[in-house]
Symmetry: C2
Subunit: 813 residues, 2 copies
């Protein structure tokens, strides 16, 4: 968003005041209004134009520095970067700018991915991707060197002191060091040793700028741990009690293999907690005495149905609490950032607000891609008062307003309004047809019929050769109908309006795929059926019919980024366990490996001949191994699903030691934590959403945040003047276009609409409305003794600030 | 609580004004003050003593009627009985009183239980309990006749019109009719036919007065159904799409038995949703093409991890909402009941409140067991003003106050205060010791050591003959320590204070059991080990140490009644399914029954000889059958736990038709609903509790509701006067005892403490404090146009009331 900050400025900076710390620039001496001649808005402050050139240039340069620092503060506020990592001098600023742009982030990400992907090619490698030790070790070394470079940039920016204090970076450095040594050892010995530390490679991914959500998830998981562990202990406690009880009760029965020792008793009750061995573990004792089922029913009722749900309740509650606290601290952090930026932008002469000139300067650094028109609109949207200045109170809305996309409100209702009369009438007719309920319901009927058709058709195929070369006529019929619908809608609504709805986009892509499928079929292409099976997806359109589904699907799309980051978090855990699993269990299970264990059947692979036919008896479980990282992932997924996980555990255990069980049990507990968090998250998100809709039942149909602003011709001319003076040709030209447009339609002003989609933060803002006010008051009360922020009369750019700033950052962290 | 309303009154009523409807009694003519001579409180209203005897007696009689009706209103408010079932005349009142006492309720319950238990002895009977057809059919007829009698009483009370309108009663009547006919048919034919309608017997249990909680649960389940079904459809929709997809993808693989037809594909994906066949269903295709695991991973991620959790979220949300609405309607219902009662108790002369005399009259009917002292204390606790009357505003707290148990505040701090000096010092020392933290932590250490000891001891036993006849010395040592602790605590605190704490009670009973175990061991009794295994329960004491556990356990105990009712609800569903299962599947599975199915191994029972030894191969699953109701319950529990349920399903299916799967699938969905509700309930209860503790962190240590009231000697003497006049000897004697006590200690007044445990309703009251005020206002606004309740100046006993009452009840229902 904000990372294309021009490097020129940094060079410029190092050229003129290289060694002066950024914060220590003597801002008191700044000519606070620069002559005021750049101001578009009728400014009453005394213009001091005609100063000497050199001073003006220096003043402008100092202002540029202020703009940049303010922009950095706002970025830090947005990204929740703590202020103690704020660049402190020009050198740090250079490094900061270097390390904060998408190119650098991409490098970070790709290095981390490269390191992770290396495990595909290392020792127990995926057969197709196997690489020589020399090759993959060199690749690893290369990647590690890139990481070293990244870290050195970070050190340059943070300074050694802060670098040491930053925990995550320190851990990363240590891991890097270990990895480096190991990579060199591998390269020297030309053979892989046991490298469990590879599991730590994830930290490079976690530390990426793009993986901020994963870091947040991990933090949330660790914060939920204490109550989780408490309840886990309760769970284990009951397990031990029941294990002793079970041992006493059932070990006299010699046909019961599940309780013959205390260890077995414990392990089997642990597995029973996952229900994975359920009726089986009960059967031998149940066969002897029917009343022994009471033991198992009581155990499951207490452990599975009560304490496990308690676990969810506790995590859910903690999660709720954390979400709220996180929202609060983020909000206050943003507020502090805005305060910092504000104080860099106001002047001594006019301490009550920011003028457009300075605001424009800030946006030049904060959002370089924004055009002049949008900058002015953002300024106008922020400015609630009638004065030409944005006060601190207005400026607090900065983050809500800056994300808006501005568009001139259309004068024409439909795209075809300018066409000749006949064409207009035709298109108008189509438009009315397409928007009618009748048409919609007709389409729903077609989709439903199509669904039933597909079902019946598939049912009739029963084992025949259903990939016949003839295109089924039903397929063509339905596809034609969908095609006609698509055509009508596109012409009736205009392509832009048509594609602006998510649902239409969905229809469009599904129809397109179906058409591709038809093409593939016509030309006898092989991967055809992958496309044909997408056809039932059309049926998803039926879910638009009911409000609850629309709600659910909307929430789903809103949640998607968060879900993806949770999935990624889970994958990181998978990676760690996969590496450990591969190091210990690679190659231990194979067909017929476990004939001595109780799960021998599942690992059997017998190929015997009955009469003339060869009968293959396959247990298949030998496929669930740790032979390479892909297999390990699948195996771990199976363990996550839990059912029959003990077969995998017992298989591996019978080939290694019984301590291997620890690996599986720990994995179960870890996934239980992550899964509980995921459940709590989904619960929280949906309950929150439903509460929200219940609270705002009247205004339910608004899709996103919309703001309206009118700009008069004089204003535009004024801005053009301003840009002309600073010789920004592109901006001037663009603004002049607006003036021309206005002239053409003979308007004195144009209405602009600012739009953005609603985020979770907006919802939270509305939900916690009352509490937020309290937080603000509490926060400003805490601030006051240190710095009277609300008093604009105090010297805005005083050299005292850096100190108080650091003090404040302590309270935020 | 309130059900021992004396029958005499009813007879008295029918004797004097038999046919006059209760509500139509011309209360305008009541001598509103009865001369005021009964009033204890200094009454300023003109005493009209010396009226003719007959008039006074009639007035008193009318007052008695008012008391009784007010008491009935309050009962209805408490039990959430709708006011349209209010008895309308003297005959109805007689029936109402007959049908509202514990004897009648017990009869109801026992009849229902008898009917349910009959299925133990009917056709596929539990072997030991088999009864002849003649016997059990006669028993059934007898029980049904009792139900007829109950229903006829209810009809007498409700009147035919209301009886017809009352849905639950109507359903019960229809079921009764069907059951009656069937029972006669069985008796005539002397053979049982297919009687699925037996599943409906549950309704007799559900309709019992004692099963109100079950009814509420069922209502809640049905109310949660609509959103549940919506999401279920989404789930099934994706299932169908994936079934078609899976069929296309995997049916070309002939070694894959799971997707060879569309039906199989659907069934297996349904089972996969329960994860019950997970790695197996994937294995054949995974063995062919490793990438086919993507299909299963995507399916499980969408269905199991997303939509199933969505289901929970939706149910949880609905549940939350319903709980709040239920609380609101109950609260308002109670309020209306109180208003009704209030208007029956005030008089024309003093319309601003209820005097003690009338309040006492009400309590005589509402809580006949309450003693005179408690009645007066309740009155005092309600009366917030300085006047001798309880206003409507005060009277609104009736339900909160009437449950308090009153006790005179002790003058002595310890039980041994009256003992001689030496004894006092000894006991005081023990008291201080027992209350010290040191002692507590010492005991925790002993318990922990005991725990580890038991674990180690059990671990060492490993398969030996551990029921040796020697008493292990460790057992005696620990038991002695616990015994000494128990003794010290009892003497130090006094038995009453000791046993008033739940935790002490727990310690006491566990120690007692351990002692019984020792006794049993000493006398070589057989069932000894059942008691010895209770020893680890001592370890539960360790959980007192941490606040979270105390919280959890407290909540657990608070939740217990509700959990029990949920369990009972589940059992009722079990019963229905067990009956249906028995009718269709009794006797279909047996050893080696299913050799043609895919699950043959699980049902195998082979007895073959290898060398000299007989080896038994047992699959045991034939034990999971529907051969009698107890077996059915165990089988259904196994289906509830879900793991490997498809083995049971496939076994039964292979012996019957493939439509049997419907039974199992429906059962799965029903238990899913009930289980989701249970989870939502636990979640809700704990989150609520935790929010509550977070909100009231300062006052966390209060255990229950406590109220203090002081009574002076004059007041007691005044009440004695009152009771003497109404010649209530028992009450007078009791009160005089208090006066004597006061005289003994030379006090002018005694302090009484009212105590009761806190209920969920109290918590809710505190949580929704602000909203409750809104509800009240909204409620009274709704009421106002119909009846100006807040205006005490209006005729309190006007004959207009019955009409307006019925109108109001409409708004409440």
């Amino acid at each position: 968003m904000d990372d294309d900050v021009p490097l020129i400025l940094t060079l410029d900076d190092s050229g003129s005041s290289a060694s002066a710390p950024l914060d220590d620039l003597d801002r008191e001496e700044l000519p606070n209004e620069n002559g005021g001649s750049y101001d578009v808005i009728n400014d009453t402050s005394s213009p001091a134009a005609g100063d000497c050139c050199a001073q003006q240039s220096s003043a402008r340069h100092n202002w540029e520095m202020n703009y940049q620092e303010a922009a950095i503060y706002l970025q830090e506020g947005e990204n929740n970067d703590k202020f103690f990592t704020h660049p402190k001098n020009a050198k740090a600023l250079a490094a900061y700018l270097f390390a904060h742009n998408h190119l650098f982030y991409l490098m970070e990400l790709s290095t981390a991915l490269l390191l992770l992907l290396l495990s595909l090619c290392e020792a127990p490698a995926v057969p197709m991707l196997r690489l020589g030790i020399f090759v993959h070790a060199t690749l690893e070394l290369f990647a590690l060197i890139v990481v070293v470079f990244e870290l050195s940039m970070k050190m340059r920016w943070l300074g050694f002191q802060t670098f040491i204090r930053h925990k995550r970076t320190m851990v990363k450095t240590c891991v890097l060091f270990v990895q480096f040594i190991e990579a060199i050892v591998v390269l020297v010995r030309q053979t892989s040793h046991v490298r469990i530390t590879r599991a730590l490679r994830c930290i490079f991914l976690v530390d990426c700028r793009y993986c901020g959500a994963v870091r947040r998830n991990l933090r949330q998981i660790f914060q939920s741990l204490p109550p989780f562990i408490d309840i886990l202990l309760l769970l284990l406690f009951f397990m031990v009690i029941f294990a002793i009880l079970g041992f006493y009760l059932f070990s006299p029965n010699h046909s019961d293999p599940y309780f013959n020792t205390l260890e077995n008793s414990l392990v089997n009750l642990f597995v029973l907690l996952t229900t994975s061995n359920f009726p089986d573990v009960m059967m031998p004792s149940y066969a002897r005495n029917p009343w022994s089922c009471v033991f198992f029913i009581v155990y499951l009722s207490i452990e599975l149905y009560f304490i496990m749900n308690l676990l969810l309740a506790v995590v859910f509650d903690t999660f709720n609490d954390i979400e709220k606290r996180k929202f609060k601290s983020l909000l206050l952090h943003k507020r502090t950032a805005i305060q910092h930026a504000y104080h860099l932008l106001i002047t001594k002469q006019r301490p009550s607000g920011i003028s457009f000139k300075h605001f424009e300067g800030l946006l030049r650094f904060y959002k370089p891609r924004m055009c002049a028109r949008e900058r002015y609109l953002t300024f106008k949207a922020l400015n609630q008062s009638n004065t030409p200045l944005v006060s601190l109170k207005d400026f607090y809305n900065f983050y809500e307003v800056v994300g808006l996309k501005w568009k001139a409100k259309r004068n024409r209702e439909h795209w075809f309004d300018d066409l000749p009369r006949t064409a207009f009438l035709i298109f108008k007719g189509i438009n009315i047809l397409v928007k009618s309920r009748m048409f919609q319901y007709a389409m729903y009927t077609v989709v439903a019929v199509n669904g039933i058709w597909i079902l019946v058709e598939t049912f009739m195929l029963q084992g025949g050769n259903f990939f016949s070369r003839n295109v089924p006529w039903s397929y063509i019929v339905f596809l034609t109908i969908y095609g006609v619908e698509l055509l009508l809608k596109t012409t009736g609504l205009g392509p832009i309006e048509y594609l602006s709805s998510g649902w239409n986009l969905f229809d469009f892509s599904v129809t397109l795929f179906a058409f591709l499928g038809l093409m593939a079929l016509a030309f006898n292409m092989e991967p055809f059926y992958f496309i044909v099976v997408l056809r039932p997806l059309q049926l998803l359109r039926l879910f638009k019919l009911k409000k609850r589904y629309r709600n659910v699907l909307d929430t789903m799309f809103e949640l998607f980024p968060r879900m993806a980051s949770l999935g990624l978090t889970l994958l990181i855990f998978y990676y760690c366990f996969a590496i450990v699993g591969m190091e210990f269990f690679a190659g231990v299970v194979y067909p017929n490996c476990c004939n001595t264990s109780t799960v021998a059947d599942s690992y059997r692979w017998v190929n015997h001949t009955v009469g003339n036919k060869t009968v293959v008896e396959e247990g298949y479980y030998y496929l669930n191994n740790f032979d390479n990282i892909l297999n390990s992932f699948v195996t771990l997924f199976e363990l996550t699903v839990v059912n029959d996980w003990y077969i995998i555990m017992e298989g591996v255990t019978s080939q290694t030691t019984h301590w291997s069980r620890l690996y599986f049990m720990i994995f179960y507990i870890v996934t239980m934590v992550v899964m509980t968090i995921i459940v709590a998250f989904i619960l929280d998100a949906f309950v929150f959403r439903m509460n929200y809709t219940r609270k705002n039942q009247d205004s339910e149909e608004d899709n996103g945040i919309v703001l309206e602003k009118e700009i008069s011709k004089e204003e535009v001319v004024g801005i053009i003047e301003l840009y002309k003076r600073s010789s920004a040709a592109a901006e001037t030209a663009q603004l002049q276009k607006i003036v021309l447009q206005m002239d053409k339609y003979g308007q004195m002003s144009t209405l602009f609409l600012g739009r953005r989609s609603r985020t979770k933060s907006d919802l939270s803002m509305k939900m916690y409305e009352e509490e937020i006010q309290e937080w603000y008051e509490e926060h400003s009360r805490k601030e006051e003794p240190q710095m009277p922020l609300q008093e604009p009369a105090s010297a805005p750019n005083s050299s005292l600030k850096p100190l108080s700033l650091r003090q404040r950052s302590q309270t935020v962290i």
